[in-house]
Structure formats: structure tokens, C-alpha cells
Symmetry: C2
């Protein structure tokens, strides 16, 4: 343990590494920095620092490395796995003051941004240049691009555009010892040696601090065609998805499944209205974004008609305006209302191979019903990406019953060869279950890389591994 | 140096690790294994081994690791950078006997294959299931999927589907010490800890040997709409590309640029016919694949008409059949004939940020014309992916003049912030230039990773770094 004198000296040097007033300690640490959206309990940090440039991030890390002082990088604090909650004695590094959009180059299809820029700001800057930054999720007003890359964020349109990993052309990262790693590549094709960026995308701040990024932009869209369909069962959903992807030449921009229990709860507790009657086992929201939704309509309608004739759909309703597209999405966005209703709840973000989602959901229902008769649960998700979400409650994951629910669900996910975290990451929350989805050889290599890149273990200690 | 007794003992143990007859030495080593398509000179290997399963690959690597014996993994030997040519005294590991397509799962959109399967075999297996493996390149009959992943292969349709990296869901890799690393993920979304696969994709056999892969499949296509257009200049090409991507909602599946010198040479020496007259500074082949090209035609034509009205096109010809689409591609595929004509030639595979390709090509022409007056050269490439190719000749890169051409070209690529290898990799051929495209901090981290994962340096020694 450092002596009080050592600590005072450390804080003096920390203050000297950044701009005046950029270090807060004790009660001056912003209370918002003490937790994230996960609700995971954190420790008491030593200090909160807000660097203004990469050189300051580097100086802070070099100092912490030399002192063996833990560091927790913080973005918009919207993570759901606890990856950004404070460790005891840590220096919290906020990227909030590095929020500039430095350059937008629509001709090259890219933009250069600082890590602290919010998703909303990035999306607006792309749109102002006639392009689109395709990653989108509910926390867009708060989440920061650096945090999204560090957690390899997903969201609603992964099926079309991929996850954060797929939208990053270049990165600037500061390593544990303060070394700045400039990898600000601007080319979709670059095979000049191994790509090092993936070491940091999804590493949840354990291998480096992301300071800048070159983001890939897509052509802008004007709106979408969308339909809500009722399905006779899961196999029909897969058939419909593959049919739609083929018929629309890969333009499907969302394929969201809602099981009957979710659909009913969204109407009852989520405040959504019902474009289709209840009673089907499964509903899907299928969407195709485009530059000219009216011109795209005939192809979208023909796709649905062919599916109807084949008997893959029990019922369907087409959105006739962008307003109706938004109404369909309100069903899916009813999650917020549902979470409030079920509070406290035990929630899951998991993935299994797409073709097995139906069997997996059935197995989950059977096991949970046997173990916890009458447990309320709803199932929905980005099924086109193999990703399902499950909400159970009211119950908390601090209760033995909540922990038993987790053990049951993650055990079944493991048996299906799935992932205990599809898009939220591991952080603190899912550490106990990481071994369900990664082999011992992989865990050993992860630990080896961590020790190799951060030999003093200062970067986000206790997270992920 | 091992004694002759040591070496005999090593070979005895090597033979015991695999099936009878699977080890060749001396004059029995297949002559095809002594070089690849790069023409880079190799050393004299000790042995050639053909394992039949992952366990045998693991046993071979464990033995070589214990003995400090160099290993060169070999796929289809179609690489253009010398990544698979033998090192002196090395054990060549051929993956040719591990060529099975183990599973095709069209519902989940994936297939599981062994590393030695040729691209052609993989494409055929996907097509038989109504799906498409979207990576395509000329060497499809010979190149193997393991080698394509190890070199992060690109090809003609990267603009739509990405490089090998983007088409791999899961990998099985054997590390230098024989540890099998099972990462056979089947989900598009999986954030259960850092993704380790990217350590091996594009590592050119220096960090592990790929033995199996889970590949991502796309919906099948029935054909394409395509046009050959004459452009007033490079800026018009960028404008056309962005217009087409927006108007076609991202369905552009190829955007190949051909400068006037390439177009003329393709007609004169490449055996192609001329759909448009010569005389324009730049030509583009623009293609949109789809499940129903006839149904897609109106959108494609409307896109071209709008471009014409805006003055972005000087001339255009639309393919009216799949035969005519193939004719347009013959212009682009005339590269083989051109290479024969210019033999020996010094060729380049480079990338620069898309918006700067025009200026970069102009700078290359000016510099080469000043230094080597009258030097024949042609320029073309996958410009939609930022990738250009340059052929100069007749001259060889073993001549001082050839080396001076390389120094000039790669120097300009460096000044434009580009990559000295867009899609071919580094291997032996581009090692001298790697520092033009990677920072000292990146090179240091690459070396650190290499030492960390392959402490005895047995994996493909002398390649890349």
C-alpha cells in the first residue's frame, strides 16, 4: 500500500500531467462516475481525471504504470455489464473532454473522431455530410464512441452493418505504459502486417485506452419499409429471414423476433399499440432501410406476398408511412417499460447459432418453468444476428433465486454452444460465466495477452478476467 | 545446429506423429512445395508433412517447438508475397489432406470447413445449399481457405462483402507449442471476452496454423447488372461511386477502375474487346449482384441515368445479359494477359484513402516518368475498396532499376498515408517496406506479440517481420 505521502505525491504528479482543475478527488469526484447503467457496485476511487488530448492520456497512464496505480477508463457509463464501474483506489479516466469530430470525409467514406464523442454527435456529423454512421442503440445520447468500440457495441442493425468492430477502420490507443499506438488507418483494404486494432475492440478497457477512431461511413438512408408479421413458429422465422435476405439482396436492416409473451407484455406494460392481434406464437419486425423507400416498396411487398403464399406467415401488416415504421419499432422499444414493470429483474443478453434459437428458447422455458413455477418471463431479440434477450422478474440477481436462474440459463446457453454475452460484454457482471463460452485454452491465451500487454495489471483490474 | 543423429531422431519422431507415408524428405519433397506464385526464392526444407487431422498438426508443432525446428504452413501456394516459400531446414506443413467441408448450415448462414478445402470447393458447397461464400478471386481452383484466412485475402467483391476477416465466424488454430485453440464460434454476435481470432487472420502463418474455420454465408445471387462507364476524371469516379451506393442501398458489388493506359493495354495485349471507345481518361466497371437481376434492372438504369444527367459520366454501356456482364469482367481479367506481355514486371498492390487515389496515381505517374522516361505502366484496381494495382515493365524487381521503382512507388504510398500491401500481405516480398505503413510503436507491438506467442520463433520464420 502507498503511504499517505506517496499518495499525495502521486496526486501532485497526476495534476501536473493534465490541465488545471482536471483532477478531482474525494467528494469532488462526480457522483455520476461512481456507477454505470449496470447497477454493479463499485469501489471508492482515488481520483477522477479528465484529459484533453492523447498526450495527457499518455502522461496519466505512464504515471499510473510507474506507480502501479489501477486505472478505469470511462466513456458514457451506459454499459450494462459493469465494465466501467470504479475499482477501489483507481484513477478514473473520463474521455468526456475529448469529444471532437475532427474530420468528416464523405468521399473516402470515413470520419475521424475523438473517443469521447457521443454516438448521437457522430451520427449527426455523418448525416450532415450526407452519410450514415450505421451503429445505433438506445443510449445514443449518452454513450461515447470510445466506450462503444471498447465494448464492441451492437444494436438494432447489426444484421446489415455489423457491430462496432465492423465499423472501425482505424484506432489510436494508449497502452498501459503510456505508449501511444497510432493505427489511424483509412483504407478498407490494408494487409501491411497483422491488424492490431482487434486487440482493443471489445477488450473493455483491459488492454489499452482508446483515444481516437477512424469510423467507416455508409450511404445515408431516407427511411425504411417495414412489416410486422405473425409467424406459426420458429422454423418459419428462419425460412422467412433467409427468403427476405435473398429476395432483397441483403438489404434487410433489422429482423427482430418477439415471442408471444413479449408481445403481450409490450402491449400491457410497455405502452405499445397492437398492429396485429395477439395469439400467434411468434412475431417478427422486418425492416429494409433505403435511400428511396417508396421506390423500394414493390420489392418489399413482393417479398412478403411470396412468403404469404408459401405459408410462412400467419398474418402481416405493412407500414404505409415512416410514422407506421416508428409504431412498429415502439413495440420493440417497449423494453424500457417492461423493465420498469418487472423491476427488479434478471435480464439476459445471449446468443446461440441462429437455427437453434427456437430449440434453445424452448429449453430455457421448460427448465425455468420446472425450477421456478409461475416465473414471469419474456423473450425477444435481434434474432437475425443470433442474439436473444430474456427478462425474468420480479427478482434480483443478488437473491439466491436470481442466481439460480442465471445458472440455469447460462448452463443451457453453454450446452447450445452459445455465448453468455452477445453484445453487452463481460465486465464484472458476467465474469462467473465466461468459462461457459470460452475454452480453457482461450482463457489461458487471454490471460497471457493481458499479462503481456499490461504487466502491472493496472488497466481496469478485475474486469472480464 | 542439430547433429545428423539428432536430425534422424527428429524425422523418426515426425513420422510417428502422422500417418504412414505422410512425411517426405530430400528429393521426395514435392517440387510444387518449393515455391509459390510470388516467385520469391526459398530455402531447402528438411521435410514435407501432410497431417490428416488437427491432432496430427498439434503433434507436429509440439515436436518442432520442442526441437526449435522452423515450420512453414502451406496452403494452395498461390500467394503473391512469398509467405509460404520454404525456409532452409524447415518442416513444410501441407494442409492439403484436411480438405473436408464438414458441415453446411444454411439456416444459421454458416459452414464448417477444414483449412485445406479449396475456395472453389467451398463456393460449390455453399451454392449447393442455396447460399454463397462471397469471397472470390482468380486462384479459386487452387487457393485453400486456410491460406486465404491466414493472408486475409480480398478479391473482387470486398466492397460489398468484406475481406476474409469479415467472412470468418470461427477458427480452430494450433499454436506454436501444439496447443489447440478452439474458437469455432457460430454466432455473428459474441462479446464473451476479447475475440482472439483476429490474431491469426492476416498473420501469414507467423502466430499459429489454421486448421478449421466457421465461414459466414450470404444469400445466393442469380446474376448481376453491370455497366462499363467512361469518366471525365477521378473526382467523377468518387461522385459516381457514392451516388451508386446510395441509390442502390449498398448493393454495389464491384467498382473497378481502369485508367486509360490499362484500358488500351487490355484491348491490345489482354485479348479483351472494347465495349466503349478509347479516349477517356478513366473507365469504371460497376456491378450490382442480386437474386433477380431483371427485377433489379430499373433501379440500376435509373442510377446510371441520374449520373448521366449530372454530367458524371462521359459515356456508358449497360450489360443486357449475363454474357455481357462476363464480357465486361474480361476487361478486368485481362490482367493475366497483360502480365504475360510485360514479363518480367514489377507489380504493386497498394491502397490509399479513397478520395486521394486520383492525386496519388498522378503523383506516381509524374515521379516514375521523371525517373524512368518511357517506362510502360498501367493502373487499375478495386478502387471502391481504396485498392489500386500498378504494373510496370518489362523490368524485374531484382534489377537496381526495379528496386528503384519500388522505392519510388512505396515512398509515395507512404506520403499519402497508404498501405504498401492492400490485399497480398507482406510475406518476404514486402518486408523491406513494412515500416512505410506501420509506425514504430506498431512494429514493436507486432514483435512483442510474436515473441510472446511463438517464443522459439519456429512459425514461418523470416516472414513479415
Amino acid at each position: 500500500m502507498p503511504t499517505p505521502t506517496d499518495q499525495a505525491e502521486f496526486l501532485r504528479r497526476l495534476a501536473a500531467a493534465v490541465a488545471p482543475g482536471a483532477v478531482k478527488t474525494g467528494a469532488d469526484i462526480p457522483s455520476a462516475a461512481l456507477h454505470d447503467w449496470s447497477g454493479e457496485p463499485g469501489g471508492t476511487p482515488l481520483a477522477h481525471v479528465t484529459p484533453r488530448c492523447t498526450a495527457q492520456v499518455s502522461a496519466v497512464l505512464a504515471l499510473c504504470h510507474a506507480s502501479g496505480r489501477p486505472v478505469v477508463p470511462q466513456g458514457g457509463l451506459t454499459g450494462l455489464a459493469g465494465g466501467a464501474v470504479p475499482s477501489t483506489g483507481a484513477v478514473l479516466i473520463s474521455l468526456a473532454a475529448m469529444a471532437a469530430v475532427e474530420e468528416v470525409d464523405p468521399a473516402s467514406g470515413l470520419m475521424l473522431v475523438q473517443a469521447g464523442a457521443t454516438l448521437h454527435k457522430v451520427q449527426e456529423a455523418a448525416a450532415a455530410a450526407g452519410m450514415m454512421f450505421a451503429l445505433d442503440l438506445g443510449a445514443r445520447g449518452s454513450c461515447q464512441i470510445g466506450g462503444m468500440i471498447a465494448t464492441n457495441a451492437g444494436g438494432n442493425r447489426v444484421i446489415r452493418y455489423g457491430m462496432a468492430r465492423d465499423l472501425v477502420l482505424g484506432l489510436e490507443v494508449v497502452l498501459a505504459d503510456g505508449t501511444v499506438l497510432p493505427m489511424l488507418n483509412r483504407m478498407p483494404k490494408n494487409n501491411a502486417g497483422l491488424d492490431l486494432k482487434p486487440l482493443f475492440i471489445g477488450s473493455e478497457g483491459t488492454l489499452g485506452v482508446i483515444t481516437r477512431a477512424v469510423l467507416r461511413l455508409h450511404p445515408g438512408v431516407a427511411g425504411a419499409n417495414a412489416a410486422l408479421v405473425a409467424l406459426p413458429g420458429f422454423d418459419a422465422a428462419v425460412t422467412l429471414l433467409r427468403h427476405a435476405q435473398r429476395a432483397l439482396s441483403g438489404r434487410v436492416s433489422a429482423f427482430e423476433l418477439m415471442w408471444a409473451d413479449y408481445y403481450a407484455a409490450a402491449l400491457t406494460h410497455g405502452g405499445a399499440r397492437a398492429p396485429l392481434p395477439e395469439g400467434a406464437p411468434l412475431y417478427a419486425l422486418i425492416e429494409m432501410q433505403g435511400a428511396d423507400p417508396d421506390a423500394d416498396r414493390p420489392a418489399f411487398e413482393a417479398m412478403l406476398e411470396a412468403a404469404f403464399e408459401q405459408g410462412w406467415l400467419a398474418d402481416a401488416v405493412l407500414a404505409h408511412s415512416q410514422r407506421e415504421v416508428a409504431d412498429f419499432w415502439a413495440l420493440r422499444d417497449a423494453v424500457a417499460g417492461l423493465l420498469a414493470h418487472y423491476t427488479p429483474s434478471v435480464n439476459f443478453d445471449v446468443s446461440v447459432p441462429l437455427a437453434q434459437i427456437g430449440d434453445c428458447v424452448a429449453a430455457l422455458r421448460t427448465a425455468l418453468a420446472a425450477q421456478f413455477p409461475g416465473l414471469p418471463m419474456v423473450v425477444f431479440g435481434h434474432a437475425g444476428d443470433s442474439n436473444i434477450h430474456l427478462i425474468t422478474g420480479p427478482i434480483t440477481d443478488h437473491d439466491p433465486a436470481g442466481q439460480a436462474i442465471e445458472a440455469t440459463v447460462y448452463g443451457i446457453i453453454r450446452d447450445f454452444g452459445g455465448s453468455v454475452s452477445a453484445e453487452h460484454g463481460i465486465g464484472l457482471h458476467k465474469k462467473p460465466w465466461l468459462g461457459h463460452s470460452r475454452s480453457p485454452a482461450e482463457l489461458a491465451l487471454l490471460a497471457h495477452l493481458k499479462a503481456s500487454l499490461d504487466p502491472r495489471g493496472i488497466l481496469n483490474p478485475g474486469k472480464v478476467l
